[in-house]
Structure formats: C-alpha cells, structure tokens
Homo-oligomer: 162 residues x 6
C-alpha cells in the first residue's frame, strides 16, 4: 500500500492545502496529513484545533488520516510504515528550502522519498501567513480558506463575525 | 489622473528608495509614498520621523505626497483613489515575495495593479537592513543614504557624529 | 500623456498577452503594442499577420495602437515619444533576462523606464512556445488563445479545422 | 494500480536517470519510462537504441516498461491509463521549466498530476548534455553513465574504445 | 602573500564547512577562519568554544588561523592585511544574500574581493541550522559533523551521549 | 604560485570581462585568460582576433597571459599546471549553469576548484550577446566595450565607423 505523508503547520489550513490534499488522495492509497507541533512559535490555532479543522474540511475523502506529530519527520514515517513525503511547491524560495529538507531526510533515512507537487495556479500566491496578515486587518478571506473557517479565524483577531 | 502608491517601511530611507521615487515621479501624475506602521517590529525611526525624513529628501519633487499608513494596502489604495502599486526590485528573493503580494492584492481587489521597477545598478545591493548593519558598527554610510541623514542614523546607534 | 510600449514577438499572441494588454491599457493613457520583426527566426505568422491578429483581438480597447518594429527598442521609444516599457513576468527565468534588458535599455537611454507586471495566475504557465508545441500535436488550444485564432493556428500545422 | 510515467529524451541515459528510475519504481506499482521521439533535434542515439539501452540498464527492475512516444504527453498518459508524471529536478532552471510544463499539462488534462523528485546529491550536476560534451573531447565518463555504455558513446564521437 | 578570510558563525561547524576550509587552504597561502560574535542571537556554542572546536578539527592544516571577530568584515580584513573573502555557496537563496553582501563590502572597501566556492555535492544540503534541528530531536548526526563533536552537540540538547 | 584560469568566449570581450580580469590579476600570482575555440558557433571574431584584442586591452597588466584553447577545461588546467578556475557571475541563471559546470569539473578532476566572482554593479547587465545585439542595430556601445574596439565591432555589422 502506498502511503503518502503530507506534513505542515496548517495554521490555518488554506484552500491551497485542501486542493493539494484532494489531488494527492486521488493518486495514493492513503494520505496521512501530519500536523506539526512547532514548539518554537505561538500558533493561531492549537494543534488539536488544527487537526479538528482539517478533519472537518476533508470529511468527504475516505483514504485520509489527520494526525499531529512532533520530532523528526523520518521517525514519524517509520512509525507509520510510510516512505513517501509530499510537499506542495509555490515558487522558487519554497523549492530551495524544500529541496534542502528532502536531501536531509534522505541522508537521515535512505528509503524516504520526497515528491513535490505544484500548487494549482489559482492558489499559487496563497499561504497561511498571508491569510493571517489579511485577517489581522479584517480583510476579505473568501476563496482563501473554507467558508466555515472565516468567522473562526476573524474572531481570533478580535473581529465580530459578520 | 495616474496615481502610483509606493509603499514601504523606509526605516531608514536609502538612496535606492530615493532613486526609485524620482524615477517613478517622472512617469506618473502623482506618487504617494506610503510609510508602513509595522506594529510587529521595533523600528529605528518612528513613522512620524520616517515621513519627515522622506519629506525633506524629496522636497524638490512637486507631484509627491508622503503619508503613513497601517492596515491592508488595498484599503489604502481605495481611500486614495489609486490603483497602481509600485515596488522596487533588486533580486530574485525580492521578486518571489513581491510577486506573491501582487497576486494577493489582485485577489483582494480586482483592479489593483502592481508594477515592478528595477533598482538602478548602483543601488542593486542596498537595503535598509544593510544600512542599519553598517551603522551599528560605525561603518561608512556615504553614498548609501542622504548625507544629512548620516549623523542622525549614527547617533541612534550611540556614535558621536563626526 | 503617459504612453506605455508593450514589445514582444506575439507569435502567436496568447490570452496571457491579451490579459496584460487589457490591464495596462486601463492604467496608461495610451498603449503601443510593438510587434518585433525578428529576422533571425522563422515565425509561425508574418509580422503583418501578427499585427492584424492583435488588432482584431483588441478592437474594443480605444487607447491602443498595434505597430511592427525592428531595431533597438530605445530608438523605437524615442520615435514614439515614449519612455515607459511594459514587460509581463511569469517566473524567475523571465525575470532574470528582462531585468538585464531593462538595465541595458537604461544604459542606452537614461530616461527609459521598464515596468514589470505579473501575469495573472491563470496564465502563469502560458507562452507562445507552449501554444505552438500543443498545436503541433493537434492538442486542445481552448482558453490559451482567442477562440477565432484556434483554427488559423491549427491549419498552420497542417490540421484540418474542426 | 498506480502507474507513474517518467518521460525524457535519455540521449543518452545517465546514472542520474537510472537513480531516479530505481527510486520511483520502489514507490509506484508500475513505472513507464517514455522515451521521447523529438523530431526537431538530431539525437546521438536513435529512439530504438535509447529504448534498448534503457531496457538493458533496468533489466533487474520488475515493474518497469520502456517505450518510445511522440506527441503530447497527456495523450500518452490517457492511452496508458496513467495520470502520474514523474520529473527529476536538479536546480532552479529545471524547476521553472518543469513547473510551467506541469501547469500546462493540468490545463490540457484535469486529472494529470506531475510529481517532482530531487536528483540524488551525487548526480545533481549530471545531464545528458554534459555527458555528450565530455565525450566529445574524449573525457572520462566513468561514474556518469553505466560502464557498458561508455565505449558505445565514445565510438559515436569517433574515439576508439579503450 | 595571498590571505583568504572565511567568515561565518560556525555554530556548530559542519563537515560542509570543514570541506570548504580544506579546499580553500589548498589554494591560498593562508586562510583565516573568522568566527563571528553575533550579539543578536543566542548561540549553541560560545565564540570561544566555536574557535576551539574549529582549531581541533583543522589541526592538520598548517596554513590556517582560527580567530573570533565582531564588527564590520571590511575592518577585520584591513586589520589582517587581507583582501580576499571566501564564501561557500549551496543554493540560490545563499547566492542572493551573499551576492548582496559582496557588493556591499566592495562599496565599503574598494579592493575587497569576495570569491564564492560551491559546496561539494555531498554537503549541498548541510547547514548549521539543520544540524541543530536534527540534534534537537536526538536524530543521527553521523556524517554531518566531525564524529567527536556529536556527543557534545547532543548533550547541549539534553540527550545523554550514546 | 597561484595560477587562476579565466575561461570564456570573449566574442567580443566587454568592459565587464576586463573589470574581472583586472580584479582577479590583483589577487592571484598569474592569470591565464583562456579563449575558447567553440567549433559549434560562428563567432563574430576569430579566436586569433579575440586573443589579439584581449592582449591589447590588458597590456598594462604584467601577470597575465592570453591563450586560446579547445577541449576540456580540466585538460587545459593540467597542461598549465593550474587548479583554479575563475568565473564571473551576474545573476541567478549564470549561477545555475556555472555551478553545474564547477561540480562537473571537480568530478572530472578532484583538485580543480572553481571560484566565482561577482560582476561589478555597473556591469551587472553586460554580456557579449547584448553588445552584439546593440551593435547589430548600430546602437551606442560606449562604456560597454573598450573605446578602440567600437569601430571594429561596428564594421563587422556593416556600419561605417563614425
């Protein structure tokens, strides 16, 4: 069975993430979305909240599992009997860093392979950071994240849902 | 009337910024330099000081306005009846990020256009960060910022003006 | 009056070119589309044909002029009393080359400014070369070039219009 | 069944290609190596020869098929009931072009996905062009292509096998 | 006498740094490794420790000197009668920033030249940050840093040496 | 003795090339400018002419030698007892290709090192191709190539010297 692990912070998950999740789940037997507990940063949503949000947003996809993880990605892969990592790519800066991580992970574990998939053109500009920046000024988030997530994100920035 | 908005932190403004301001003011009817209040960072100069410095440095340009702004750039544009954003480009890293912001701004507001202009070759290496790093070691700032700004920057880093 | 010159080969013009032409004509007083006679390559369409195709495709834009040109772009600008060049950008490779040309043109003529505009996300992948490659295998061109151009391009590659 | 198509010219195939073929065949049910008939260029080896060379070099991989193809990649995928394209990446220039092709292929066929895989560090510099350039000066090809291919390549450049 | 200065944080030094030091010491009369006191960050190792670690790791190289420095690099070069800076390059992001620093240093001091040297393929992915990230999860550091450094780094992250 | 080899086509040599030659000759004991006989292209100037032009333009530099070469660069280095290659860098595209060549040359010969040096800001845009393109339209070459070379280049494109 081909298991692909799609790791990330997903703080919050965007329509770009969901697009990649859908596309990847169509080509692998199983996709594990691995939500990173990054102790270094103060997230907008807790890991538990992010897992919950992703579960709701992907409830129509049968071959998917949403879990949190911390530690080295290669250890997570071993524990889950997986050897494929999926990373979305938007632009060159992404590529540089992800390339470096892919080579590092292969150094740490020989049979781990990272496969890169390009973002769809309509989400090429989209990132969690941009969503948070727009939200912090009460800007329009429609089309950027799932509709039901918009009031939740906005309330985190102190704006009354409208 | 063609109004171009040139947004940035300008902390401090460099000769590279002034070069772009001059070149842009020669091709648009009016240029609004929008000085960003970035609440997240501790600036070297307050927004009011940065506006003042830019006003002095551009006093010979008739079709220019220097204002501070916070919030979303697209909202600032609407309030000022402008739809053109000007961004200077130095190198690929600049380009990636600015490209992403340009696409985001078009998503938020259909008729906003970002036009990129290349830095002049002699300022290709210059940024506010590099000015601050050199100043922090009392290095030579001549040619990097307006001459009258040099003692002011140096005094911020605790060096007696010489 | 702000005159922007948008130079290119346009062999053939794509929906990406037309998107940029529309956006640029909305922000400048006049746009001159300058169709390059490139003696070095055998084009799919003659310069006269390319001018004609662009004229038809932009017939609803009032402040536009389509002309052919050969020689140095800076000379063309002087003859047309223009100092603004517009270049569309899709990706880093584009950027590198265009940046170099912009700096060269400023060296040749002090007051020429090149402004870069990003392709819309939906045309980020599109180029005349890709249109020709797809057409050469009788692939689907819909959405890539104006509909009325599709049978004309296909017939150039020996396919009966369908 | 997950079928991955790995297209390329393979003129000649390098140890970098073979490394990617091995790694990809370990993660997909079946890999089809699609050798491109590029009518525009004069190849060093005919398509039939290239297919033969690849068959020998991959004879120990059970889930692989080597075939020639011409035309649009998306048509080849449909005929082979495949929807996954694999492309190796070495550097940014690769990435730019391949990204553009991936977006084009998705435009031509909705459910085609391109997955990028990074070259191994030891083959990061390697390409068919570099092999040919070194061979043309009778340089040392060991480690760059399969050993048994070295005398065949050298003889194409008029050097007696040694 | 040709003196090359190789500046960096070396927190900790990696096998990639040592590879470059060895290669550079083979082509210049003398190499000064300049360990940066960066007051802004909390390092894993103090400057004195980093100098000590580098001295041990390079004890077999005769024409080398390891010193700490703070301040502007151009001032350090003058004090040491040197005009050549060596910087290792791994990827495009490195290149952009280092290019900018090289041009800045030439602006500050006319006769300073920065020479870039590419990392060896096997260390292309390696950086001090990646070493620290792997170490923080008690991952395998073999091949990434000198063997004798591994228990020292691990103990800094609270792991008992094994 | 440190011998640096600076290889290139120099068809024609530009002020950018001469700037790098001057800077490199100031930091190495001897510089060999290696003018490439590229049989594949029709050059503007023969190899003999290019050597002659470079000799005149560098007659004031004592530690320089101008020679033609064909074949593999690593073979040329061995014959000349040199192990340092110097390459000028202007931008990312340059970097990618040159990086690949540097890694290839190290693969072919262990102790060959390529050192990259950035073009001066004023020559960042300059290349032999751009000189030829401008010359082909009788454009202004002053500042781009040595003054005495201008009429010679122009006459090659059929323009009477003025």
């Amino acid at each position: 069975m081909n298991i692909a692990v799609y790791p990330g912070s997903f703080d919050p998950c965007t329509n770009g993430h969901l697009d990649i999740i859908k596309r990847v789940s169509a080509i692998f037997d199983k996709v594990i979305v691995a939500v990173l507990c990054n102790s270094g940063k103060t997230p907008l949503f807790s890991v538990e909240e992010r897992v919950e949000i992703l579960k709701k947003a992907t409830s129509d996809i049968p071959n998917i599992e949403i879990v949190s993880f911390s530690g080295l990605l290669v250890d997570f892969l071993k524990e889950n009997n997986a050897k494929i990592v999926i990373k979305g790519l938007r632009a060159v800066s992404d590529f540089e860093y992800e390339f470096q991580m892919a080579l590092t992970n292969r150094k740490l574990c020989d049979n781990v392979e990272t496969l890169f998939i390009s973002a769809s053109t309509e989400y090429m500009f989209l990132s969690s950071s941009i969503v948070k920046e727009i939200a912090s000024y009460n800007g329009d988030l429609s089309g950027l994240v799932p509709d039901e997530l918009i009031p939740i994100i906005k309330s985190r920035f102190g704006f009354v849902n409208n």
